[in-house]
């Protein structure tokens, strides 16, 4: 059962399955290296709860919850 990236608990890793859509947000996510098969780890949320922080391809990336929801993962 695929999950979306915003549901990934802090400190956990998952494998990216897909990015939904082909609009500007999806393209940006792909460009930042969120391609299928890649590992991604959650580092938690900003103090106000949004955006979220992740580690992917050895660097740290910040995404809003609505954007993270577009990324399908398998933990």
């Amino acid at each position: 059962m695929p999950q979306t990236l915003d549901q990934l608990p802090e400190g956990q890793s998952a494998t990216i399955l897909d990015v939904e859509g082909d609009d500007a947000v999806a393209v940006r996510l792909l460009e930042m290296g969120l391609t299928d098969g890649e590992l991604i780890r959650s580092l938690g949320a900003a103090p106000l709860g949004d955006p979220l922080e992740f580690e992917v391809r050895g660097y740290r990336l910040s995404l809003r919850i609505v954007e993270a929801r577009r990324v399908l993962i398998r933990s």
């Binding site: 082909d22 290296g33 990336l61 809003r64």
Partner: protein
């Protein structure tokens, strides 16, 4: 002919540092025509052959979604006519984050230009345990690879040599990352384009058009021509065929290029196997902590704000002192007349009006450069994004808007960090609504005159403080509402993605900070400065002509001659006035208790007062002439173009409770809103040397009457003036900065119109409601 070399890279790779280090702060700064993108060109220092370096905006990818993003592609393909053919490209990568950075490198290599790959921040990468075999990487890519640490100025000579050698070496092989079926489709599309009469399109553009769904090359490139529809249809068909072949656009690009990056880096670069909890992670645990993080953020912002608001003040005062010193020198050299007026009230005031912003700009960019270089600025955006996104802005709008409370000009210049064009424009348009320090004289004048300082809930001055707070709150609330409305109307469309890299923390480099501050100050002086200066001259002319100034000049000449001949009595009078004031103060503090003490005081007082009276008789012709000059000036301003306009608009400002004098004062304060205080001084015949604490101005305002004898001012009028000045766009410097930052007259016009209307209606409501309470 110098060689032209473009420089491109991801954000946060130290690109501008490298640019500055190579060119030595000698860049020519302008705008690419028709877009908001800054054009920066500098000559590389110390090369045998002259080489011009063109700085391109930091980007993660070369896929153009807008005209702004198309500029980089056009420059690199030699299609940007104001740059011409590009001979080579330098692609800067963050050595500690190679895989992600190789995505852009792959696109750049696809251009087929002579290329130099720079692995910047090499020292940081090696200190984290990364091992990169540079000769092997260079051999694999077929282009030169250079390691640099720009903030330490390491590797610069090798880079210069590589750039010089790049053109004779020629381009390297293209990466060829896509499956063959993709190239076959591109080939077909190219023939289709040739069929449609466009055989000139480079293969790079055809590939991009196919890859960028809804991108610039699909929607705008051929828009308006008769082949646009057929071009779009061809793209859609091609993409459908690719999808069938298991090669879905746009996902295929990321997949293919990242696979290429992994494969290229596989045996030449090793990242540390286990990513240890770095220094950065530990710092971040505190700085993005739920409580500590927000607290530290608040403290930092207070310091930055305090710096711009108060620490820049001595420098700004110095600027003002310099301005009056130069004015005095001019006045001593040139007799009273049109030329002197033009020089002192136009030219010197105009130059001063530009220079006075430099301390604040320098201060803000000092902090921004510091915070950006150490990696905190991205965290500030991360912390504030949730709040700002409620109004359709994003986290990066916070620092520009907060600092606009000191001055909107550095605030607007700081919006450059916002990559999304719509969010950036919305931020620029609302930044001038924040109550900047120039509003303070206006607030101070009317609050001290009309808001009582009687205690409220036992706090003395609480009413005055609350009124001041309300003025600041008004600006913030208005900005939030306007931003939300703008994002729903002219800047509508999807909320821009907030996909942002959080760079690792590092110690800021003094060289980077200094060069960034210098960069911004020069950009302001050379680009906005000329326009601000021109505006000052225009307003000077509008308040000087028409009108016969001969009488004023004659009187002024008399005043100056008499001042010179009677310098001693003048000095003496000033001394006596000072000691009289001190005497009165002392008497109020320690009232005489005995009769003899009282007599002693009385004697001292009467001697001083007697001396003053004698001097006043002696200096009466001078004093009378001074008053006459001020009255002449007042009536000449009233007869000037702007004064007449002020009379004309009286019916418009009357519903705000204003008379024509307030109207003229407001019109004349177009160059800068704090000038309204000086202008009221001139209009009330008090001369131009009044400030907000001038007692004569206070009584002039208290005694101002309508023709029927009613007083002009009262609490409702004071409030309506303050509300108007809180929301209006009476600041030529801000409007000219917007013109330069957006490279269009449209946005300053939009800003001026909406702010003036908003200010007018808010002041109208304020007056109408307050006068009925």
């Amino acid at each position: 002919m110098p060689l032209t070399v473009a420089i491109i890279g991801n954000p946060n790779t130290g690109k501008s540092t490298l640019f500055n280090a190579l060119t030595g702060l000698q860049a020519r700064v302008g705008n690419f025509p028709g877009v908001t993108v800054e054009k920066k060109i500098g000559r590389i220092k110390g090369t045998a052959e002259p080489i011009d370096l063109v700085d391109l905006p930091g980007t993660y990818s070369l896929s153009p979604r807008s005209l702004d993003e198309m500029v980089s592609v056009n420059v690199l393909l030699g299609r940007q006519t104001d740059i011409g053919k590009v001979d080579a490209v330098v692609c800067i990568l963050d050595a500690s984050n190679l895989e992600r950075n190789f995505y852009l490198a792959c696109q750049v290599l696809d251009l087929g230009l002579p290329t130099v790959i720079v692995l910047n921040m090499f020292d940081v990468a090696t200190s984290r345990g990364a091992k990169i075999d540079i000769p092997a990487l260079s051999k694999k890519l077929g282009v030169q690879v250079v390691a640099t640490s720009a903030h330490r100025k390491e590797g610069l000579e090798a880079l210069k040599a590589a750039i010089a050698a790049a053109v004779p070496n020629g381009p390297g092989p293209r990466p060829h990352p896509f499956p063959e079926v993709f190239y076959a489709e591109c080939h077909q599309l190219a023939s289709k384009l040739a069929e449609l009469g466009r055989s000139d399109a480079p293969s790079f553009l055809v590939e991009r058009a196919l890859l960028d769904v809804g991108g610039y090359l699909e929607t705008e490139w051929l828009a308006g021509s008769d082949i646009a529809e057929r071009w779009k249809a061809a793209l859609v068909e091609s993409r459908a065929r690719l999808k069938e072949a298991g090669c879905r656009v746009p996902a295929v690009e990321a997949k293919a290029r990242y696979a290429w990056a992994k494969q290229t880096l596989s045996d030449v670069a090793t990242a540390p196997a286990v990513r240890a909890a770095t220094f950065s992670d530990r710092v971040d645990r505190v700085l993005t902590h739920r409580f500590a993080g927000l607290l530290i953020f608040a403290v930092l912002m207070v310091v930055v704000f305090q710096a711009i608001f108060s620490w820049a003040k001595p420098l700004m005062d110095l600027c003002g002192a310099g301005q009056s010193a130069v004015s005095n020198v001019v006045a001593s050299l040139i007799p009273p007349g049109t030329l002197r007026s033009l020089l002192t009230d136009g030219v010197v005031a105009g130059v001063g009006g530009v220079l006075v912003f430099l301390p604040q700009i320098g201060m803000l960019f000092f902090f921004i450069a510091l915070l950006e270089d150490c990696g905190y600025l991205a965290r500030a955006a991360f912390l504030m994004d949730k709040v700002m996104s409620k109004f359709g802005l994003n986290g990066k709008s916070f620092v520009p808007l907060m600092t606009s409370h000191a001055c909107a000009i550095p605030g607007i210049m700081a919006t450059r960090v916002i990559e999304d064009r719509n969010a950036r424009l919305a931020t620029i348009l609302v930044a001038p609504l924040m109550s900047c320090s120039a509003r303070l004289p206006v607030y101070t004048l009317f609050i001290s005159l009309f808001v009582s300082d009687e205690p409220l809930l036992g706090l003395r001055g609480a009413r005055q403080g609350l009124t001041l707070f309300a003025m600041y709150a008004l600006g913030i609330v208005a900005a939030a509402l306007v931003a939300a409305v703008l994002r729903k109307t002219i800047f509508h469309g999807e909320t821009p993605p907030f996909v942002m890299e959080l760079p690792a923390y590092k110690w800021p480099s003094p060289w980077i900070v200094v060069s960034r501050v210098w960069d911004r100050m020069m950009a302001f002086v050379t680009r906005a400065g000329t326009l601000i200066f021109a505006a000052a001259i225009v307003v000077w002319a509008g308040s000087f002509f028409p009108g016969d100034h001969s009488q004023e000049f004659e009187k002024q000449r008399f005043v100056e001659q008499t001042q010179a001949t009677q310098a001693d009595p003048l000095k003496h009078r000033a001394m006596l006035e000072e000691s009289l004031g001190k005497l009165n103060e002392r008497m109020a503090a320690h009232p005489p208790t005995t009769e003899s003490e009282r007599a002693e005081w009385q004697q001292k007082l009467s001697i001083t007062e007697g001396g003053l009276a004698d001097l006043n008789v002696e200096l009466k012709p001078l004093d009378d002439a001074r008053v006459e000059v001020n009255l002449l000036r007042a009536s000449l301003v009233e007869q000037s173009f702007l004064g007449r306009l002020g009379h004309l608009i009286e019916p418009i400002v009357k519903p705000l409770g204003w008379d024509w004098k307030i109207g003229v004062g407001t019109l004349l304060s177009f160059p800068a809103r704090e000038l309204v205080v000086t202008n009221l001084g001139i209009i009330y015949g008090l001369g131009q040397d009044v400030d907000e604490s001038n007692q004569q101005l206070w009584s002039a305002i208290r005694e101002a009457k309508w023709p029927d004898g009613r007083p002009v001012y009262g609490v409702p009028v004071a409030l309506s003036i303050m509300v108007f000045f809180s929301l209006c766009a009476q600041c030529a410097a801000t409007l000219m900065t917007i013109r330069r930052e957006t490279n269009s007259w449209r946005w300053p016009l939009v800003t001026f119109s909406y702010m003036t209307l908003l200010a007018y209606f808010a002041a109208l409501v304020t007056y109408q409601v307050a006068s009925r309470l």
